[in-house]
Symmetry: C2
Subunit: 111 residues, 2 copies
């Protein structure tokens, strides 16, 4: 019915306020793990779990140079979410179209 298997992991990743806040920060440009962690009152291992979860979902990519790991957003996964939402909207609108066709057909019968 759908070929969006990666959506499980993407939606799971989005279902947490810390992870969404990290994505919003990265939407403004790449950042190091330590810069990303600073606003959160959270132990680094807990924060790293969120980063790994985001990386596993494909929503971010990380790259290590020396001792610094930098994170960047990967917009392609957002596009998958937007495509799914657009599909849902097409279903609703298809339904509205069918309702409209029905009403027009009934009006034609009544003439």
């Amino acid at each position: 019915m759908e070929n969006y298997q990666q959506l499980d992991g993407i939606f799971q990743a989005l279902a947490d306020p810390t992870r969404r806040a990290v994505l919003s920060r990265l939407g403004q440009g790449p950042a190091s793990i330590s810069d990303l962690a600073r606003p959160f009152d959270m132990a680094l291992p807990s924060f790293m779990k969120h980063i790994r979860f985001l990386e596993g979902s494909g929503l971010i990519q990380t790259h290590k140079a020396g001792r610094v790991r930098t994170c960047a957003i990967d917009k392609r996964q957002f596009a998958a979410v937007e495509a799914w939402l657009a599909d849902q909207r097409a279903l609703w609108e298809g339904r509205a179209d069918r309702l409209e066709q029905f009403v027009i057909a009934e009006q034609d019968k009544a003439k």
Copy 2:
């Protein structure tokens, strides 16, 4: 930073292929629990957990008339997801705008 607390439950609800399939079906119009359950090779109690999860997230509403419980989609929660995505996009585009301004400023300096 964000005032989308209901997004946790919404994204959690969307992170499952059965629940997404139910939403796609309901996008075509309301349906009874038994009609919704039919395509799934799943015991009814398991299926009902998915329905309750969707109802709890606000993505669907259910209504019981006699022995039949009917489910319908609630588009307002989809709008919350779309608003969050639009906010993210605005962050990226704001960033693109700033990058563009920087490039223009550097070009002006070079003249």
